[in-house]
Each structure stands twice: as structure tokens, then as C-alpha cells.
């Protein structure tokens, strides 16, 4: 490769990276990237609050066995005989004279909420301080696949990559590039890399933060199980890799769309529908999409239970996952082909702002 081309790509990066990162119109991308972080951050804080509350409410002599020995129909005196005075209690008397007592006991990790009606146990609820690792892992995968990949990264990449050319046409500043001694295909590569750097950094940092908060929110036993037996670090690597590949794949698609198509809404809607119906497309067509490869690389399958709404099932279904190496190479090849098409098309592009607006 001509050494001047590297210098030119570096000059394009210098111009474009800052713009991609700090565009005022694009600040909402940070918000999109932040939403899952806020979800897991919020979840962590709730879990922490719950654990602290249980710890503070732990009664002397209360054990798990004693907590679980309370049965429906027992009297107030019988319960007091087993567990002593409750950590929290509340009494409500209805107009018809019925008395309800709400008592809570905790051993520090498990809380039992007991409801008495007219002096007898009517209802029992059990709350654990820890979390359900398997369930939370699936929830993480669900947020990642349904929200993060399909919406946050999708629309983030749409904005950044379509703006690389379309934004400059709207701002009437693309001609400065076209009047510089840089080959237009080199310009495309430079701009694509600039968009890729910006989106990869923004979304991968968010992915890592989501994972970190997910790990932090686990109780020590589950955390050890997740990191050491349940391939937690591999999950981190896979999710971060999928995020970077999503930026690469969607980036190439929207880069081409910004060059080929004027209306971003039509483009976004078309690509979104195409990606959404991927699961029901014939095998050959399925491979001409980004999500097909990304879903194949996600480390956790989302089980589809009965009664799941059809649109959600449509998004989750992946009838024939590609092997990881095929998925990575397939996505790289797809992106390369789309970027190549962009480099061919831009050679014929004219500056005619009045009709392009």
C-alpha cells in the first residue's frame, strides 16, 4: 500500500473521529449505549439494598430451617415460639373487624414474609438475598440481543455511518474532500475507520460496563460460579467481540446507504425489517444480513417459552447457527463487500447539493 495513503487515512481520521465522537446531534447515541448500563446498575443497587436490609433484619437465633418450618395455619403464638419477635411488623384492621398482621423474619440471607389473618398464618413469601444466576444470565443475553444489538448499536451505527457522507452533503462540506488529492476509495476507507473507532469505543465500553455491573451484582457464591465454572470471562470476550463486529457490519451497511440512498428513514426501516425477519428467511438470504452472524456468536441462547409473543419469537429464533469461525469470516466478508461497493459507487458521486438535500 502506498505510504501516502496511510498518511491520508490518518488525516481523514483526524478530521472525522472527533466529529463522530462529539457531534451534538449524536449525543443520544451515548444515551442508547448507557441504557443497559443503567438497567444493570439499577439492578445492582436494588440487590445491594435488599441484602443490606436482610442483614440488618437478621434476628438472633433465626435460622433457615426455623424460617422454613413455619406453615400455613400456625398461630401467632406458635410462630413467636419458633422465631421470636419479628424484625418488622405491621397490623391492619379492616372495617369488618378482620385483623391482618404482616411480619418479617430474616436470617441474613433469606427473609420470610408472613401474613396472619385473625391470628393464623394465611400466606408465606420467601425472599433470597442472592440472585438466580441462570435466570440473570438469560436476562443479560436478552437485553443484549433484543435491545443492545437490534436497537442501540443498530441506530447508533446508522447515525454515525450515514452521517459520514450524507451529513456532509447536508452540511455542504463534502466538496472539500473531493477537491483534495486523495482517492475517493481511500476517503471511504478513512471515513469508515473513523466511524468504526467511534462506535466500537462507545459501544464496547458500554458492553464491558454492563458485564462488570452484572458480575458485581452477583452474590459472592454465584460470582465465583459465573466467573470460574460458567465461563464468565468468555462471555465478556464474546459480548465485546459481537459488539465490535456489530459496529463493523452495521457500519458498512449504513456507510453504503449514506452514499447510495438519500432518505435515511427509508434505509433504516428497510434494514430493520430485513434484519428482523432474518429468522424466517430462506437459508441463502439469511446469510445476507448482519444479525444472522451476530446471533450465531452470542454466548447464551435465549430459550423460547410457550406463550412468548410472535414478534419476540421472530427476533430470537435462529434455526441454524453458523459456527463461530464461519460467523466471524462471514461478517468480515459481508462488510468488505459492502465497503467495496461503496468505494466503487463514490467514484461516480457528484457534488450537487441543491438536488441532494
Amino acid at each position: 500500500m502506498n505510504p501516502v495513503w496511510w498518511k491520508q487515512i490518518s488525516a481523514v481520521l483526524r478530521l472525522e473521529v472527533k466529529k463522530s465522537f462529539f457531534s451534538k446531534r449524536g449525543l443520544w447515541i451515548y444515551f442508547l449505549a448507557l441504557i443497559p448500563v443503567l438497567i444493570w446498575g439499577g439492578h445492582w443497587m436494588v440487590m445491594r439494598y435488599k441484602a443490606e436490609r436482610m442483614h440488618n433484619n437478621a434476628g438472633a437465633g433465626v435460622t433457615k430451617e426455623k424460617l422454613m418450618s413455619v406453615k400455613q395455619g400456625m398461630t401467632v403464638a406458635e410462630v413467636e415460639g419458633i422465631l421470636g419477635r419479628p424484625a418488622t411488623s405491621r397490623t391492619v384492621t379492616r372495617r369488618n373487624g378482620t385483623e391482618f398482621r404482616y411480619w418479617s423474619y430474616s436470617d441474613g440471607t433469606t427473609t420470610r414474609h408472613i401474613t396472619f389473618r385473625d391470628g393464623a398464618v394465611q400466606r408465606l413469601n420467601t425472599e433470597h438475598a442472592g440472585c438466580d444466576l441462570q435466570e440473570d444470565t438469560v436476562i443479560f443475553a436478552g437485553i443484549f440481543q433484543f435491545f443492545y444489538l437490534r436497537l442501540a448499536i443498530f441506530f447508533g451505527c446508522m447515525f454515525v455511518f450515514m452521517n459520514l457522507f450524507r451529513g456532509e452533503i447536508l452540511d455542504r462540506s463534502l466538496h472539500y474532500y473531493f477537491l483534495a488529492p486523495i482517492r475517493r476509495d481511500i476517503l471511504v476507507v478513512g471515513k469508515y475507520l473513523a466511524g468504526l473507532i467511534a462506535t466500537t469505543v462507545i459501544f464496547c465500553v458500554s458492553t464491558i460496563a454492563q458485564w462488570a455491573l452484572f458480575v458485581v451484582h452477583l452474590d459472592p457464591i454465584n460470582r465465583d460460579a459465573y466467573l470460574q465454572q460458567n465461563n464468565g470471562y468468555q462471555h465478556l470476550l464474546a459480548y465485546t467481540g459481537v459488539t465490535a463486529l456489530a459496529c463493523l457490519g452495521y457500519g458498512s451497511v449504513f456507510l453504503a446507504a449514506g452514499i447510495l440512498i438519500r432518505n435515511p428513514l427509508i434505509t433504516a426501516a428497510t434494514v430493520l425489517i430485513w434484519e428482523s425477519i432474518n429468522g424466517i428467511l430462506p437459508a441463502t438470504l439469511r446469510q445476507i444480513s448482519v444479525i444472522y452472524y451476530l446471533k450465531s456468536l452470542c454466548p447464551v441462547e435465549i430459550p423460547m417459552q410457550q406463550g412468548v409473543p410472535a414478534p419476540v419469537a421472530l427476533l430470537a429464533v435462529n434455526v441454524d447457527n453458523a459456527p463461530p469461525i464461519v460467523a466471524v469470516l462471514g461478517l468480515l466478508a459481508l462488510s468488505a463487500v459492502v465497503v467495496f461497493i461503496s468505494t466503487r459507487r463514490i467514484k461516480r458521486m457528484e457534488i450537487n447539493y441543491s438536488t441532494d438535500n
Binding site: L179, A180, I182, R183
Partner: protein, 326 residues
């Protein structure tokens, strides 16, 4: 006017049978030009095809038909072409948040030069347009004239052999205008091409070595400025005389051989006169004004560019469309 482009060997910028259509709409049609070094002005009213022609020369547009050759280079090889060609467009837009210096410097980096070289060239270009003090400020805060100058600095920063400027004197105050014209002369004095577009004929009259007159996408006249001016002089000039006795004035001025036609203005308060020699006609008017007729004003009504084009198109444009004249 005859369609006879200059010999190829004397010309460096050549357009051969170039046409550009935007769908059904004509941009320019059947343009044959051979532009030698020096200052060449493209003159024409808005919509005459000047910018389209410049965009075709620089590759921002691609011809529907015909070929463009700039000193043996083509925009299809941008690495060579744009090291030798600078184009200051009319688009008054800039990358967001840039200072004047950033703007010139950043696009110089696309040439592959190192920081020191780009910095040196950027300041040199900024100095040439007298914008050093304003250069560290954001372009968004510049006046129209300053924005025009920073665009000019950007287009000359790589020291091009061919400099193309779309309405470069727009928005400049008289002092800066004089300095800018001196800059163009300096460039052309070094044997370079300077191609300027303007819709103000008298503006290019004083700076151009040659002029190309355009109208509705066609070249209607082309050649050295003196020849075009003579053509204009051959065309009867129309003058409106506001006076108290238009009929009496008409009978008096018909005695002059320079008057081709005279008619009372529709409002009855003046006389419209066509003359072939404006200078002699004004002398005669001085004489008449001293002999009883009260003359309020004497003003030419068709010395603007639009009138000239109408004349050229009506009288000879059809034969010159696509060729031009010398």
C-alpha cells in the same frame, strides 16, 4: 462572431464538446474551450452555467458528454490533479467548529505532508489573504468577506498551477478586493491559470486577460477582453432622458448621426434614445441642456450584463451557441 477555438498547442485547459444535463434540465451544452494561462473570466447571469462549467473542470460533476483535460490531467486521477488544481467554490459552508487555521491546516494534511510542512503552508496562505489575526478564531464568527478569504486561502494553500474561483470577489470590501485582485495577478504573472467566474462584467473587465461570456448553458462570446468590449460598443446603447419637453428633445437629437432611434417614454416624462456612440451623445446632451430644454437626468438603461447577453443571444447567439467567438 465565429466559432473558432484557439489552437490546441497554445491551450492547456481543454473542454471538448462538453455537455451536462441534470435529468431533463440543461446545465451546459456543447462547450468547446481551450483556455491558456492567465486570468480568464467566466461571465454570465445567475443560472448561465458558470458554476456547472467550473464543477465539470474540477470533477465535482461529470460531463454527460464530452471530455475535460486540464493541463494533461484528469480529475479521475485526484492524486495528481488536485496537487495542481485549487478550486474556491461558492459554497459558504465549513466543517463544524473549525477555526480558520484548522480549516486550512486540516485539509492540507490530506496531501500527505507532515505537520511542519502543513503548518508552514497554512500560515503562508493565511498571510496571503491577510487573515492571520482572525485565523485562530472559529469560522462561524467570521464576516462574509472573511469567510470568502479563508476559502481562498484554503484553495491556494498547496500552491496550485491552476486556480479556479467561483465569484471570488463577492462580499469583499474595496481594499480587500484590490488585494485579492493583486493576488490573482501575481498568480497569473507566474504563468498559471486563474479562472474566475462573475456576474459583474465591469469587475472582470479590469482584471481579465480573456473573457468567456455564458448564457443559458452556452458560450455566447469568448476571447480577449478588448474584442468583447468592441462588440459591446457596436451595439446601440439605450439611454433614458428625463426632461420637461420630450417631443422637442426628440426633434433636436435626431439631427445627430449617432442616434439610431428615439421614442417618448410610456409615462410621457422622458425620452428613450438608442445611440451608437455614448460619449458623443453625452456631449450633445450637454449642449441641448444649455439651450432651453430642462433635462433632469440622463441615465443608461441597458449597460448591465443581462442586456449584453440579450443582445448577444438575439443577434448572434444562435450561431455561436456551442462555439463562442473571437
Amino acid at each position: 462572431m465565429t466559432a473558432a477555438p484557439p489552437p490546441i498547442e497554445k491551450s492547456l485547459i481543454q473542454l471538448n464538446d462538453v455537455s451536462k444535463f441534470y435529468g431533463e434540465v440543461l446545465g451546459v451544452n456543447k462547450i468547446n474551450l481551450a483556455i491558456p494561462p492567465g486570468i480568464t473570466s467566466l461571465v454570465g447571469p445567475n443560472g448561465s452555467g458558470k458554476t456547472t462549467l467550473m464543477n465539470l473542470i474540477t470533477g465535482l460533476l461529470q460531463p454527460t458528454r464530452g471530455t475535460v483535460d486540464v493541463c494533461g490531467m484528469s480529475p479521475e486521477d485526484p492524486e495528481t490533479f488536485f496537487r495542481n488544481v485549487g478550486y474556491c467554490t461558492q459554497f459558504d459552508s465549513y466543517p463544524k467548529g473549525f477555526t480558520g487555521y484548522d480549516f486550512v491546516y486540516s485539509f492540507l494534511r490530506l496531501f500527505g505532508w507532515d505537520h511542519a510542512e502543513c503548518e508552514r503552508r497554512a500560515w503562508h496562505a493565511i498571510d496571503r489573504v491577510n487573515l492571520r489575526e482572525a485565523a485562530p478564531r472559529k469560522i462561524a464568527g467570521y464576516s462574509k468577506g472573511m469567510r470568502q478569504r479563508i476559502r481562498l486561502a484554503q484553495s491556494i494553500s498547496h500552491d496550485p498551477r491552476v486556480l479556479i474561483l467561483d465569484e471570488p470577489l463577492n462580499g469583499l470590501d474595496p481594499l480587500v478586493r484590490a488585494e485579492t485582485i493583486a493576488l490573482f495577478r501575481e498568480f497569473s504573472g507566474e504563468g498559471r491559470h486563474v479562472i474566475i467566474s462573475s456576474h459583474v462584467l465591469h469587475e472582470v473587465d479590469i482584471i481579465s486577460d480573456q473573457v468567456i461570456l455564458m448564457s443559458s448553458g452556452y458560450i455566447v462570446a469568448e476571447g480577449q477582453i478588448k474584442g468583447v468590449r468592441n462588440e459591446i460598443e457596436e451595439h446601440p446603447m439605450q439611454v433614458l432622458i428625463r426632461c420637461d419637453q420630450p417631443q422637442a428633445l426628440a426633434s433636436r437629437i435626431f439631427q445627430s448621426k449617432n442616434v439610431v432611434e428615439a421614442k417618448v417614454h410610456s409615462d410621457g416624462g422622458g425620452l428613450l434614445v438608442k445611440t451608437r456612440n455614448a460619449d458623443e451623445f453625452y456631449l450633445m446632451m450637454n449642449h441641448i441642456a444649455m439651450n432651453g430644454i430642462v433635462v433632469e437626468t440622463v441615465a443608461p438603461v441597458d449597460d448591465d450584463v443581462q442586456s449584453l447577453y440579450e443582445y448577444l443571444i438575439d443577434d448572434g447567439g444562435s450561431s455561436n451557441a456551442g462555439g463562442g467567438s473571437k
